[in-house]
């Protein structure tokens, strides 16, 4: 503890003490870096051992994958941050999810003209499975969600919207705010939504409902059905379960990636 001295002498002394602390500080950081380097090597060995015993478990058991991911998240580690990370290199988790990312992008691009860039997790799952072929490893919906979360970093608008017990996956940079999302959730029940329904369920003014619906139409996420009884229906092609069984045509596949 320094006593507050007055005068130039005291100030000079203070500066000298500070400088000494800083110097020690440098040494401390260097020490810690060296310590970290050593611990890192040890950790790598531990991970290698773990991998030799349980790598298959991660690959084959989707529940174990979930446990693994959750534990990593709890301690503040992202095993999927980099292909160069230990987790990725030694456990092989990286390649699994990054490849899945590519497949997800391709499916979304191929179907964009049909659904405007919005697709249910179910349909995405079905199409990805089809694309992977019979000899590839099975993937769960949890796997898809994790892969999509990573894809957000690429800036092309991937996001995950919870609706009625499942999720809608958005793959275009269309601006969807809370109002839009809430209407999508309302539409999930029947595949379509009307102005009256919105007013009744959400207690909105007509104008607010109309604006949201117009925006969805403009973005190609909704189709207008003027021939519906009583009032216009706004259908969401993303929610048509019929589409599950439709193949991606050769033309769509070609347009997916130039």
């Amino acid at each position: 503890m320094h006593r507050r001295g007055v005068g130039a002498g005291a100030i000079a002394k203070k500066k000298l003490t500070e400088a000494k602390y800083k110097e020690r500080g440098t040494v401390l950081a260097e020490d810690q870096l060296a310590q970290m380097s050593k611990q890192l090597d040890m950790f790598k060995t531990n991970l290698e051992e773990f991998a030799s015993k349980h790598k298959q478990e991660i690959r084959k058991n989707p529940e174990f994958r979930v446990q693994f991911q959750d534990m990593c998240a709890t301690i503040g580690v992202d095993p999927l941050a980099s292909g160069k990370g230990f987790w990725s290199e030694m456990l092989g988790v990286g390649d699994f999810y990054y490849e899945l990312g590519v497949q997800i992008i391709e499916v979304c691009l191929a179907l964009k003209h049909r659904n405007g860039g919005l697709i249910t997790l179910e349909e995405l799952h079905q199409q990805v499975l089809k694309g992977r072929g019979k000899f590839a490893q099975d993937v769960s919906q949890d796997d898809l969600i994790r892969a999509i979360k990573k894809l957000k970093a690429l800036g092309s608008g991937f996001s995950i919207i919870p609706v009625g017990g499942t999720y809608l996956i958005q793959s275009v940079p269309a601006e969807l705010n809370m109002d839009h999302t809430v209407v999508l959730q309302l539409a999930e029940k029947n595949g379509y939504v009307t102005v009256s329904e919105i007013k009744a369920s959400l207690k909105w003014e007509t104008e607010r409902a109309r604006q949201v619906l117009e925006h969805l139409l403009k973005e190609g996420l909704a189709w207008l059905d003027l021939q519906a009884p009583k009032e216009p229906h706004y259908w969401l092609p993303a929610l048509f379960t019929d589409l599950y069984s439709q193949e991606i045509t050769a033309e769509e596949a070609r347009e997916a990636l130039p």
Partner: protein, 386 residues
């Protein structure tokens, strides 16, 4: 196999579809049936199988007929399967594909995958037993037995015992793996704590730490997958690895970029690069961090972020602003264009076409007509004609 009954495949009122999967084949016990390619649907009340080639061929089993289910893992040349053990068929059962069967179980073979999700949902439905609380028409309620506890029918006891043993074995494997994982995580957590304390030291020193030390630290963080807490960044959150990667990208992307008019979205780049690599793939963050270093390393490519958040890679020689002049010409020739129309004309992806038109609008060359029919761009006559 005699538990199935013919059905139209249409759902009843109060019956909801839970999940469906194509490419499923049915086995009667261990025997393959001619029902080899069908769509399997799970509803709250039934398991329905419909032939993909002949939709008329459609049959179902009420979920109440199921005693229990088990998973059979995939093998070489063999698809993953779900084994469904069934109660004997009730005497008043409606007609189906078979009158009698010697087996009390069937197998569902998932030739196009989907077994993981299907098993999960089927287990859930078996637990929730929603068919008991949501009545549908009489024909579905063919098995009104009390379902409390498992009914031990003849022959099933031995199977159940084997299952228990297998379950215990699997549980043991899982718990060992889980235990090892927990121990590993404790060590990983120590690394995280250490890195936090180092990061704090670095923050405090504000300039007394060398470039070298920073780079070393960042690469340690990269290996562990720990987010970079250091605020002072020379090359973004890049490391040596990302610098190397950036240089590699130039080699890989030069030609594709030239083929695509000098510009590609980052999603396209991600797919292209990873498809080319085949293994040791890049994570999305790896790609972004490498691209952030392109400018600093004075490489012939650059990363550009549009207002919408869309990220692209351009050749340094590519001048998007120059492309605007030709974009204006194209739009003028046609009177007006949407992003899709423009994309088709010029041979670009719709995403990038839209960005170009938006940029042209921002620069005042084009103006928009935003209606429910879509977003259409016109030459900005306010500028050119006074």
């Amino acid at each position: 196999m005699d538990r199935f009954l013919w059905t139209s495949g249409l759902l009843e009122i109060n019956e909801t579809l839970v999940i469906q999967q194509r490419g499923v084949r049915i086995y009667d016990g261990e025997e393959k049936m001619k029902f080899d390619t069908g769509t399997l649907l799970l509803s709250t009340h039934r398991l329905i199988w419909r032939d993909q080639k002949n939709h008329e061929c459609c049959m179902a089993i009420p979920l109440s007929q199921i005693v229990f289910i088990e998973e059979q893992a995939a093998g070489i040349g063999k698809s993953a399967k779900i084994v469904v053990h069934l109660h004997p068929a009730p005497p008043n059962k409606e007609p189906g594909p078979f009158q009698s069967s010697k087996n009390s179980y069937i197998k569902l073979s998932f030739r196009e995958h989907g077994q993981i999700e299907f098993y999960r949902r089927l287990s859930e439905e078996m637990t929730q037993r929603r068919w008991e609380t949501m009545p549908v028409s009489q024909s579905l309620q063919t098995n009104r037995r009390p379902q409390s506890g498992r009914i031990r029918a003849v022959g099933i006891v031995g199977i159940e015992r084997k299952l228990e043993e297998k379950r215990k074995e699997t549980d043991k494997n899982i718990s060992e793996a889980f235990e090892d994982l927990s121990k590993l995580m404790i060590k990983a957590k120590e690394m995280v704590e250490l890195s936090k304390s180092i990061a704090n030291k670095i923050k405090e020193k504000q300039g007394d730490i060398t470039e070298d030390e920073t780079i070393r630290f960042k690469s340690y963080l990269l290996s562990m997958g720990i987010a970079n807490p250091v605020t002072r960044e020379t090359y973004g959150s890049g490391t040596q690895y990302h610098m190397q990667l950036a240089k590699q990208l130039v080699g890989i992307l030069q030609v594709p970029l030239e083929e695509r008019g000098g510009i590609m979205s980052l999603t396209e780049v991600y797919c292209l690069v990873n498809r080319a690599r085949g293994m040791e793939l890049l994570s999305p963050e790896d790609l972004v961090n490498a691209c952030k270093m392109l400018d600093a390393l004075k490489l012939p490519l650059r990363l550009r972020v549009f207002d919408s958040g869309v990220m692209v890679i351009e050749l340094q020689s590519h001048k998007e602003e120059e492309m605007l002049a030709s974009a204006l010409e194209t739009v003028s020739e046609k009177g007006s264009l949407t992003s899709e129309e423009f994309a088709k004309l010029v041979g670009m992806s719709v995403l990038l076409a839209k960005e170009r038109l938006l940029l042209a609008e921002k620069m005042g060359h084009l103006c928009r007509d935003d209606s429910v029919e879509g977003l259409r761009f016109y030459p900005n006559l306010f500028m050119t004609q006074s």
